[in-house]
């Protein structure tokens, strides 16, 4: 039973990368569809809509980040994988904010990015505002990232 610690820890790392990655992939895909539509009309807007398309992509990177930090903390990237069950579960819990918030915030951010793209299609001068609307959603992904980072880097020092 004691060996299960590393299993749960890896599950957490994988979940963070998995769910954020899926969310970002869907989100960037949605943005891409809308952006391609705008470019059929006016290819010169490419730069502006590209930024909006990429906005929901950051969650995937945050997920990767958490996964990587976790992997290096639990010793999968070199080191001993000797982790108690309690610690393994703690790592799993620490990864969950990024996993869940990453997934759903990417989807919601994609929706507001798509709306932003249609805003840019009609009024290209307002692209700054469109970016901000979508970036507001990202705040919560960043907060989740922060909690996950603080949790994961803190767990190593606990004595359980």
């Amino acid at each position: 039973m004691d060996n299960l610690g590393i299993v749960f820890a890896l599950l957490g790392a994988v979940l963070a990368a998995l769910m954020s990655g899926i969310g970002s992939a869907i989100g960037v895909g949605m943005g891409g569809e809308a952006a391609a539509g705008v470019c059929t009309d006016d290819p010169s807007k490419f730069g502006k809509v590209l930024i909006l398309q990429l906005l929901p992509g950051t969650q995937g990177i945050y997920g990767l980040l958490i996964a990587f930090i976790t992997l290096s903390q639990i010793g999968i990237l070199g080191g001993s994988g000797d982790i108690s069950l309690a610690k393994g579960l703690l790592y799993l819990a620490g990864c969950l904010p990024m996993a869940f918030v990453g997934y759903w915030s990417a989807l919601k951010q994609a929706k507001s990015a798509v709306s932003g793209i249609s805003l840019v299609a009609k009024r290209p001068d307002q692209s700054g505002k469109a970016i901000i609307f979508a970036a507001m959603v990202e705040t919560y992904a960043i907060l989740a990232l922060l909690v996950s980072i603080l949790a994961i880097t803190g767990i190593g020092g606990l004595n359980i």
Binding site: L54, I61, K129, M136, E138, L146, I149
Partner: protein, 675 residues
């Protein structure tokens, strides 16, 4: 840091000078013209919409011709074409062009006509080819498809549905009419969908044969040829070849007109400028012999323009201060350091009434925060080198592009600075390379300050501290705005009380045990400081409750609004927490760079390892730089727009749009004045 002061200008001049006066104003680009003088018995506005629509038609035609040219004879453009800016053209060329544009427009229409003929011929070819296609099954027939028979016989040429062979046709015919007169059927071709046949019989039995044929689905071809199908095929092929030849000649002619490209581009600019001029003419108040132009001019350019106009023409220039009840258009002026962020400010909104231009304060924070988010020395150096090179190489760059590059140059400097502070150079590249390829794990680029990855709490506290400074600066900007309007009491109500409340709360928090231990601070303020802090906060809070709703007269409503105002303190909490993105984004850059480096070093040292390392290094860091540049840009903007501007700035000003030459391809420069 300034919004330029505007003046009203009124120019009263003779109609005979209208063209040179307007052209001078257009070149100077200093006046925004408006139609402020209403029509009356003396003055009237000319309707120039007809002229302008002609200009726009010409512009559209020339643009279409350019597009066609691009299709057949693409211009060789360098990778950095967008940095090069518009080419220069002297105003003499502009004046001389008035005689030339008819010729250019002829080429324009010629190009469009040629393009149309290409399109028509292409459509024709498709039509001919489909005819050719439908002829294919009939090629075995060596008669005209309209052949009806000889004197004694009757011939039937047509198709039967489905694929059939001779036997089954004859069997079906016999099945329809057992006493069918003799009929000779020949199979011309047979495919899955149809069978083409030639049938011949004696004239007398023709009706019965036709009846029988029809009942098994015989149909005459929709489009029978006059000669034999083979002849027709040849005809069609000649026609197709002809059409192809015509396309070729038309395309060659278009390509031969590619030399006109510059002239056509200049035509677009020429008509754009004339259209702008006619728009202004429509706004002039004109009498029989004179005209009056009114508009806004930046105060610092007014005197020079007045002197220039009065020395060259017989006219009167009148300068007045703006009517305080009307908002003048906004034009910003900033120094070298702050001007680059004007574009960012414009994308939010220009300063509205009573607001100051926040660029100079904002630029400092902008570069600072951007650098913290990207925080990698190598990435910063790349930005500095890239932007610096482009700025030095392309002197003629458009000002918007120049400002953007300057902004990223400054951001790059800040990024480099923070990169060294946090010990990040392509992540941990120095250490990884030293360990993997030189076997020296003792070499690594240490941070000048500390490594955020190792001490995230310290970085978090630093981020929030920066946030508090940023927000307090925003409040101070609000005080500055009130001071400019001499609203001294408002400073106390909207800024002073908030400072008391917020600073008091922070001081109190630092004097308790909880906050310093959460933030891992090494000090606790003495309890007496805490008492002073909480007292100040209480005064501030009471002050806010009493004054935040001061525009309401009803005391109950006023108190309720005040309480709601105090509730705004929660927004400060979320605003400060929002600066934690500085930590998160900074870590993102560093950690991903580290991931790339450790992936690259997985093959170990040696030649193969080095090659793999270089490949992964190039691809990985390019991607990381691109994504984090975007992230840093977006989130720096957000911190400025939402957290910082939220404290004092709304925007809503109207940009100054002077009457000038808004050309696309050429920048018309004055050589010497003539005339």
């Amino acid at each position: 840091m300034a919004v330029l002061q505007m003046k009203r200008i009124r120019i009263c001049a003779l109609k005979k000078d209208r063209k040179p006066v307007l052209e001078l104003l257009q070149r100077r680009g200093a006046v925004e013209v408006d139609a402020a003088i209403p029509e009356d018995s003396v003055f009237s506005h000319a309707d120039t919409s007809a002229n302008r629509s002609v200009f726009h038609k010409n512009i559209a035609a020339a643009a279409a011709a350019l597009e066609i040219l691009d299709q057949y004879a693409p211009e060789q453009k360098s990778l950095f074409a967008s940095l090069e800016g518009r080419k220069l053209k002297s105003d003499k060329d502009y004046a001389a062009f008035a005689q030339k544009y008819d010729g250019v427009m002829e080429s324009v229409y010629r190009i469009t006509a040629l393009d149309r003929s290409v399109a028509e011929n292409k459509a024709e070819i498709i039509k001919l080819e489909s005819q050719l296609e439908s002829l294919q099954p009939w090629l075995g027939l060596d008669l005209s498809m309209r052949f009806q028979g000889t004197g004694q016989t009757r011939a039937f040429i047509g198709t039967l549905p489905g694929g059939m062979d001779l036997e089954s046709i004859l069997a079906q015919l016999a099945g329809q009419n057992p006493s069918l007169p003799p009929v000779q059927v020949e199979l011309i071709s047979s495919s899955q969908n149809q069978t083409c046949i030639f049938a011949v019989c004696h004239k007398d039995g023709a009706a019965q044969v036709e009846e029988a044929l029809r009942s098994i689905g015989f149909a005459q071809p929709s489009n029978p040829t006059k000669g034999t199908p083979a002849q027709r095929k040849q005809e069609l092929e000649t026609l197709i070849a002809q059409a192809k030849e015509e396309i070729d000649t038309a395309q060659q002619q278009i390509v031969s007109l590619a030399g006109q490209r510059e002239q056509i581009e200049f035509t677009i600019d020429y008509f754009t400028m004339r259209s702008e001029k006619y728009e202004v003419i429509g706004e002039l108040a004109q009498s029989k012999r004179a005209f009056v132009l009114t508009g806004y001019i930046p105060a610092k350019r007014a005197d020079a323009l007045q002197a220039e106009l009065e020395s060259r023409f017989d006219l009167a220039v009148e300068l007045n201060d703006c009517d305080p009840s009307v908002d003048p258009p906004v034009m910003l002026q900033n120094n070298q350091f702050s001007a680059p962020v004007e574009g960012v400010l414009e994308s939010f909104g220009l300063p509205g009434r009573g607001e100051v231009d926040p660029c100079s304060v904002m630029s400092f924070f902008y570069y600072f925060l951007f650098g913290l988010m990207l925080s990698d020395a190598a990435y910063g150096l790349l930005m500095v080198i890239g932007c610096g090179f482009a700025l030095l190489k392309f002197k003629n760059m458009e000002s918007g592009m120049r400002k953007t590059l300057q902004m990223f140059l400054y951001c790059g400097i800040s990024t480099t600075f923070w990169g060294f502070m946090f010990g990040s150079f392509f992540g941990d590249l120095v250490g990884v390379v030293a360990t993997t390829f030189f076997g020296r794990p003792d070499i690594a680029l240490g941070p000048l300050w500390f490594e955020p990855v190792k001490e995230p709490m310290r970085m978090l506290v630093f981020s929030m501290l920066l946030g508090i400074i940023h927000l307090f600066t925003g409040l101070a900007m609000k005080a500055y705005q009130y001071a400019k309007q001499k609203a001294w009491l408002d400073i106390l109500y909207d800024v002073g009380f908030w400072y008391m409340l917020l600073v008091g709360l922070i001081v109190y928090g630092l004097s308790t045990e909880m906050l310093p231990s959460i933030l891992q601070l090494s000090f606790i303020l003495p309890a007496s400081a805490g008492t002073v802090g909480i007292a100040a906060a209480a005064i501030g809070a009471v002050g806010i409750i009493l004054t935040a709703g001061r525009e309401s007269r009803n005391p109950v409503k006023r108190l309720l609004k005040g309480a709601y105002g105090l509730y705004g303190v929660t927004s400060y909490l979320s605003d400060v927490l929002s600066y934690s993105r500085l930590l998160a984004l900074g870590l993102a850059t560093g950690v991903i760079a580290t991931v790339i480096n450790s992936m690259g070093s997985m093959m170990g040292g040696g030649i193969v390892g080095a090659i793999v390392f270089i490949l992964i290094f190039l691809v990985g860091h390019t991607m990381n730089l691109a994504i984090n540049l975007l992230g840093a840009y977006v989130h720096t903007n957000r911190l400025q727009f939402v957290e910082f501007f939220g404290k004092f700035y709304e925007g809503g000003g109207r940009a100054f749009q002077p009457f000038a030459a808004h050309t696309k391809y050429y920048n018309i420069k004055e050589e010497t004045y003539h005339g």
